[in-house]
């Protein structure tokens, strides 16, 4: 990508970030929701650590990475709604009649989603810290957690965008997201230690990208992280993110042909 396309990616990213900041309702919701999860689940499941297998005696410590990853999933999977709106409003077509790099248009979505997810993750980590959670893995572990949640956000953001361009119906996005969010979250070690999960569920979770992000982040946050696990799950997420972005770029090309 040349410097022109890079600059354009930045301008388009800036525009989208500005849109988030200008719509404080969304901003507040995306930050308040994790707090509610933290409070609800933190209290509801407080005693499950006594079952063992959580690697900590504080359920809050265990829960934070779960909430970080769940929130990354929950906010990214709606990216397609924004894309759909831009199509309906004519904004996308306006850009397409300018010489702007087509890659810049797509990449801006990825970068914006990544930045938003990273900020959201950091805020949750800070909130958890304020509530008394401890992060044994230190800064390095937190970095891995944030990167993993950004990668997961990239996967679902790109898929959601592809869906939006393909079906062009809000109802479809809402339906699929509602269908997927809870199963994806609960078929993972978000709230429950793997050793306490039924074994069939644990096997399904092995194929769940949400769980990959969870495992990578949580392992890195351990005092004694399993590098192989972190790199393995992180690498798988990276591959999946590349595939998802590639898919949404292809969908974007077919959208351009269907105008």
């Amino acid at each position: 990508m040349n410097s022109q396309a890079l600059a354009q990616t930045w301008y388009m990213t800036q525009r989208q970030l500005m849109a988030i900041i200008r719509q404080p309702v969304f901003l507040v919701i995306s930050l308040v929701q994790p707090v509610i999860w933290l409070f609800l689940f933190g209290n509801l499941f407080k005693k499950v650590v006594e079952l063992g297998g959580f690697g900590t005696t504080s359920y809050l410590d265990y829960l934070i990475p779960g909430i970080v990853v769940m929130s990354a999933l929950g906010s990214s999977m709606w990216a397609g709604m924004g894309t759909l709106e831009e199509i309906e409003r004519g904004t996308l077509n306006r850009f397409l009649t300018t010489p702007v790099s087509r890659n810049a248009l797509m990449n801006a979505n990825v970068v914006e989603n990544g930045i938003a997810t990273a900020v959201q993750s950091v805020v949750i980590v800070l909130l958890g810290w304020a509530a008394g959670a401890t992060y044994q893995g230190g800064a390095g572990g937190l970095l891995v957690l944030v990167v993993a949640s950004v990668l997961l956000g990239t996967v679902f953001g790109a898929l959601s965008n592809a869906l939006g361009m393909l079906v062009r119906r809000r109802e479809s996005i809402i339906g699929i997201n509602t269908f997927l969010l809870l199963p994806l979250t609960f078929l993972s070690s978000s709230f429950m230690a793997p050793s306490q999960m039924p074994s069939w569920m644990r096997h399904i979770a092995d194929f769940n990208p949400v769980n990959w992000a969870m495992v990578a982040g949580r392992s890195a946050l351990n005092g004694d992280p399993d590098r192989g696990l972190v790199l393995g799950r992180g690498g798988a997420l990276l591959v999946l993110a590349v595939v998802a972005v590639g898919l949404s770029t292809r969908t974007f090309r077919s959208y351009q042909k269907s105008v």
């Binding site: 525009r15 500005m18 409003r89 300018t98």
Partner: protein
Amino acid sequence: MSTRAPAVAARDLIKTYPGDVTALAGMDLTIDAGTVFGLLGPNGAGKSTTVKILTTLARPDSGTATVAGHDVLRHPDRVRRAIGVVAQKSGADPVATGRENLLLQGRLYGMRGAAVRHRTDELLDRFDLADAGNRQVKGYSGGMQRRLDVALGLVHRPEVLFLDEPTTGLDPEARTAMWDEIARLAGDEGLTIVLTTHYLEEADRLAERIAIVDRGRIVVEGTPDELKGELRGDAVHMELRAEGDTGTITAALTGLPGVHEVLVDGRRVSVRAGDGAAAVPLLLAALERAGAAVAAATVARPSLDDVYLRYAGRRFAEAEAADARHIPALTSAGDAR
């Protein structure tokens, strides 16, 4: 002006959409540089599809087109640098301010620093948006949004400006203001304006040349006066005080110098005349001789509606209604609405 290459040259453009909807059925179009050209037709006639192809958004199934001398299929990027597009749908970012929209648009064309800021200020001023420049676009009135859209299309000083239905959905006051604005733009040195509209009045008022589009092709093209002139003169409508004998009246009027197409319908008598005003005294005298007293007489210049009727074989409003029913697939695919 005539020494320059045409701003737009399209040959035999054909485009069909899924579901066997033929949007373009052999569109030929040549637009001279520096003119205001109107594509006139009902919704669904193929105007928007033509604009989409000429602005590199859509690809034709077959046919060729150049805009500002560049091939739309081989060098879409060069075309994009040379054109400004004001689409039917606004496309401005509602959350951003007018100024931010303009700055971003300029930057997408590679304008930087003070140059793009000056241009933005200049356009905000010109389109009477200076006071609203720092407000979010979602708070703009319809007229303000449309003016911003036009400003967005002009940021990089294009050679060819496409205005796709620029006044659809505007209230009469905003429409008149937009007409004045477009008329002013037409005075800009060398700017070619391609205007699509389904308002006869708009085409008549703004365009130097008009092409009437019907069912995916151009049925006739010329200056508004040429098109109306081809209808062989004015219509003279007269109303009699009392119903007379149709045969007698027809005989009395037929053969008068410059008068043709005599139509008697009860008390209403209509004729076509090369020069309507000159024919009125002759018509009145002839009717008086035939014993029919005239209560009222009006002379009507031919309208574009008459032109449309002649070339498309149907009234404009009828075509509008019929085509609106026939092209649901097109509208739902994000085309005209």
